[in-house]
Symmetry: C2
Subunit: 341 residues, 2 copies
């Protein structure tokens, strides 16, 4: 049985949830999938970094983060000064890249993943930046080194979207899709329908940790646009940047709009769509007024959904409810298993 050596770059909500999932599934991975793992490096944004070729005790690392301590205390090696230095010092088999997303250029995550693939590591990420800004280059680099670059968690958390097309729908061509892909705005609209003001709703999404301190990326539709870009780039084989997506956020919707929609039995949703046209791809992110016959009408709260239209199947919809860091973490684990088995 092989033991895979993991480097965890980024140890926020998702990185920590992944660590807990690894611990919870340790025995099952060993007995049912013949897979062992060992974490040889963890680099955090604000709590230091640890590199130990003999393995880092994950439970200790989680406890130290909870206590506000620096992981430097767990390191047996000199503290790396940046992500690339960290990756090169780990001598790992798999990099899990979970640093914060950069919408405009995907850095430094692209550099991190390049460094990992170039030195023979698989690279797995929940970070959308590298997918929309360097999918083809990183995939080619992975192939050249006989490794995998996987990113299931970047859209709809751990729900299978990329692997659905890669593994289960061969010889089907994606022609269009339409979905609700941003949890924060969908929860805000749900709360406003329940009577909260926009400001109260935003504050609530921040209080439960799903919106950033600056929630602009969600509210103005950038997060939805980067997900549209990722799906189009990977599944429709057309390079598309977030800035190429026609984009309107929910900032223009007022409580009055929500109330009057509700009075008519309708509902506003931030709808993402993409469609192949004669000249390329037409894409948009914008609020739409849905009536109850629309399959996306009932996608409430933090749930998300996407309907795929292909040349060969009727509309196929994937709906994910109750997402969270633990479901994003599952996408990382599924990618790891798919990469090595």
């Amino acid at each position: 049985m092989d033991t895979y050596r993991f480097a965890l770059l980024g140890f926020g909500n998702v990185g920590q949830a992944f660590a807990r999932l690894l611990l919870a599934k340790r025995d099952e991975l060993q007995t049912q999938h013949d897979l062992r793992w060992q974490v040889v490096g963890i680099m955090t944004g604000h709590h230091g970094a640890a590199v130990n070729p003999d393995g880092i005790d994950l439970e200790s690392a989680l406890a130290m983060i909870d206590a506000g301590d620096s992981l430097d205390l767990l390191s047996t090696e000199p503290t790396p000064q940046n992500g690339v230095e960290f990756i090169l010092s780990c001598n790992a088999d798999v990099l899990f890249e979970n640093t914060p997303v950069s919408y405009h250029d995907g850095q430094p995550a692209i550099e991190h993943i390049s460094a990992a693939l170039s030195t023979g590591m698989h690279a797995i990420t929940a970070n959308k930046g590298p997918v929309v800004h360097a999918y083809r280059e990183l995939t080619r680099l992975a192939q050249a080194h006989g490794r995998k670059f996987l990113f299931e968690s970047t859209v709809m958390d751990g729900a299978p979207v990329f692997s659905l097309w890669r593994e289960t729908l061969p010889a089907a061509e994606l022609q269009s899709f339409r979905g609700v892909l941003n949890s924060t705005t969908n929860l805000i609209l749900t709360l406003m329908e329940q009577g909260k003001t926009f400001e109260e709703a935003v504050a609530y999404t921040q209080s439960i940790g799903i919106a950033e301190t600056d929630p602009t990326g969600d509210i103005e539709g950038w997060d939805a646009a980067i997900k549209v870009s990722a799906l189009v780039t990977v599944l429709m084989d057309v390079n598309l940047k977030p800035s190429d997506v026609e984009r309107k956020g929910i900032e223009s919707l007022h409580s009055e709009d929500i109330r009057s929609a509700s009075a008519e039995g309708k509902r506003w949703k931030l709808i993402c769509q993409a469609e192949r046209t004669n000249t390329g791809i037409s894409t948009s992110v914008r609020p739409e007024l849905l009536d109850p016959s629309d399959p996306l009408y009932s996608v409430m709260g933090t749930s998300s959904a996407v309907t795929f239209h292909s040349d060969i199947l009727g509309p196929l919809t994937i709906t994910e409810s109750d997402p969270g860091p633990h479901t994003t973490a599952y996408g990382l684990l599924a990618d790891f298993i798919n990469a090595v088995l």
Copy 2:
């Protein structure tokens, strides 16, 4: 490039749709997947059989069926007397078994698939009988011969359900599911909500070819129960026969029930469910009165849907709309590609 030799046993709506799909995707399979195929045998229920080691022209076969002619005219070999004789005479690489389902014992499809696997063929079927009555035996037989036994089309047509769990959700354990899995009864209930009587609705489903001449299997819930059995047997690793499922059909629902539900903003659906318990599995098929907040409330007409609950993800729902023989045919094609690539 390999050329795979196909034997098509059963050439009704699904078998013919599969033949049309093979013709439509011939070039794409060759250029994008490096796969060639040749049909060396077709056996029908009422229009004879053809075996030709040099390949049968599929367009001619489809035209002859349309014209009501016997396929015997296309054969270069003696006419086989039964399915097993047909399989043995074909010398094929892949058997597509699409004979009518037998709810109570899965025969003769199990014999057909056994014969195919034993002689080194992959066996792919849209027939639920072999899955619920011989899944483990046939899977072991396939493994012993280094071949695949696949059956994606048996539940929700070509929508990926089995391959979803096999390929995209590793190390996740299915704990329960709930769904609308029988298209005929769902369409009947939709039509009754629109004002048709039960008898008119049944007649309509027969007129469009989705219900059998004797629609009892659908109406009494047997088709739904066999799908529950298939999902439980394969995805939850517990053998379950259709007769083990607590079962109540839609025959007890009257127009008055549908109307009064509608007046309250509710809707009757034939709901399938299964749940792991301390002592095993609890399963049922029965009409349930759903309110609009239920995710299955909006599954109308011939659409179907299933929500999976696992140990590791939030509820994950797959919804398929506009199914038909062409989508069942796609499941067969996807299984073939997954078997050989």
